[in-house]
Amino acid sequence: MPVDGELTIQPATPDAPGPEAPAAIRVQDLHKAFRIPTQRVDSLKERAVHPFASREYRELHALDGVSFEIRQGEFFGIVGRNGSGKSTLLKLLASIYRADSGRIQIAGRLAPFIELGVGFNQELTARENVILNGVMMGLTPKEVRERQDAVIDFAELHDFADLKLKNFSSGMLVRLAFSVMLEADADILLIDEVLAVGDASFQQKCADAFHQMKTEGKTIVLVTHDMNSVEEYCHRALLLADGKVQFIGDPAEAGRDYLKLNFEAGGVSPTGLGGGQSDGARLLECLVVDESGSEATGVESRTNIRVRTKVELQRETAAAVHVGFVITNADGLGIFEFGQLMDPAEQAESFAAGRRFTLTAEIENRLAPGRYFVHIGVTSADGISAYAENAATFVVFGGPKTNGIVSPAVEFEVESTGSPS
């Protein structure tokens, strides 16, 4: 979320409630599975024709034993990749879905704010929508009527209160939606990535409102992709992965874990070793590995990259064999290359057919965060060749954001070389 520099959100940490604070939300061993029919039956006709056909389904476990506790007055972040189950968790907390098993306990009134302007009716005026939404969020009609002017004033829509919503600009809608959320005056606010709303002055207003809610001791649960806002606002954060709690605690740490997860599962896959043409040699393996030698998909910024390759010669050769590597970024731009020459003369007359080599290269990592590909070529003077493009891929994660594709170590030497006088 782009937060303007001028925003004056107070840092979250100083007033974080301690572990002795009473619980606002307690979730115990929550399970939720969705049944996805292998063949969906959408009509009574189909059901009548195939009475048993639809009974097959596979289960998707969106949440698998999730437990956590949020303390009263806490600003709590829930992060996770798409499909990690965070939306499901949010909807369970908001009583939109029903859990399969497990307990959810909530102290006080909870106002979900899942999407801007949900339940707004385009055909009604702003004022009517304010009343309707207020009642939906659990206020009595009397309470809403008392507050409606304050809500419309907060949204800066005083002149448009009796205009139909369909004539509103998106900015006006957003302001109205945000004001309505504040109107509910709930003890717990459940917010799904809606902070980046409105123009700068309204953002400031929202920031003030959040701050106000914090000082009032309200509990705020923020569900988002955006690690910046989590680190900025939240006291604690929960990282969900595959329906399980991966991490809970310090937002910065949750952020790092999240980025790592995010890149590891990035959609690009290497072509592997099958694609290239070969003559006289065969590539058996090409992997990016960690220190223990097992396959890794991510490499932390500034820690060495290890690439392990296995090559098998398929005919005898007396010539030296070169194994070369090129590293490219996701756009296919070559960044650097390296290689190793293996000369049979050092050991014997020649390499026999069937001879195998395992090479592990350790490379100093000066790459900027992002995705990279490894390409291999095996060649010799007597015509052996084997190539594999996109043989392996890895992600460099962590580290500061940077322009460009490399982040070399830089040292400055600064000395005064003269003064104006």
Binding site: P22, L44, A94, I96, R98, I104, A107, E115, I131, V135
Partner: protein, 286 residues
Amino acid sequence: MSTTARPVAELREVQGPSALGGGWRRFFDLLWLISVTEFKRVYFGTVLGYLWSLIRPLILFGVLLFVFTQIFKIGSDLVEHYAVMLLLGIVLYTFFQEATSNSVTSVVAQEGVVRKTQFPRLVIPLATVVTAGFNLLLNLVIVLVFVLAFGVSPAWTWLLFPIALVFLFVGAAGMSMALSALYVRFRDTAIIWVVVSQVLLYLTPILYPVDAFESSTKERLLMVNPLAVIFEQVRVWILHEPQAPTALEAAGGWLGLLPAAIIYFGVCIYGMWYFNREAPRIAEAL
């Protein structure tokens, strides 16, 4: 917003979504508010507003009146106030059809709200019934004018009319609950209901009086339809014609009313039960 410290709230169990969740008070507040705003929207939303909801039954009335008094002549021969009976029947049936057919797709049409907010689900189909009810009440005022204009004299039995209205309303509500929940799963519910409600129109003594059959077996068969029972009784109460059989007479005794009662209460209870069962999962099925 106040800055006073809040009392420490107790942890409460969260039950998840349901048909009625959130307390009766909130349920009725929401039901009333949604119905009224929807009614106002239709009423003030278009140029002719309310007229549209009147014109449709009136045109149907005009056409049928012409057909059955000028061409077939069955109406005017059998019933003294055929036009009034026809109009009353059409207006009441229009309510039933409007309420049920609007509610079929109502839950799915409100998809955004159902999937993203927490509130008692039952409000959605019931609001369409209540909105149709407002229309009915307005239309009944017009009917009253016709009734008096055609020379039907007021009688004490008119006071019983609200009983029929309550039965009709509850029946429409039960049907709406079942239909809207079924539609979430089975999308051909809408098409099936169009056909069924079309057939029901002819299986209810609206265009013809029950006594047109001149066969007590057929009369009894007709009284299996709960709507027929209600409509026939309305005719007796409002038109108070001596030759018109009451629903009880047409059915041939209390035993004859049993099938209609079973169907009526069956639909209501099933609708309530089925909607209640489906409510927690509606958001997922959409």
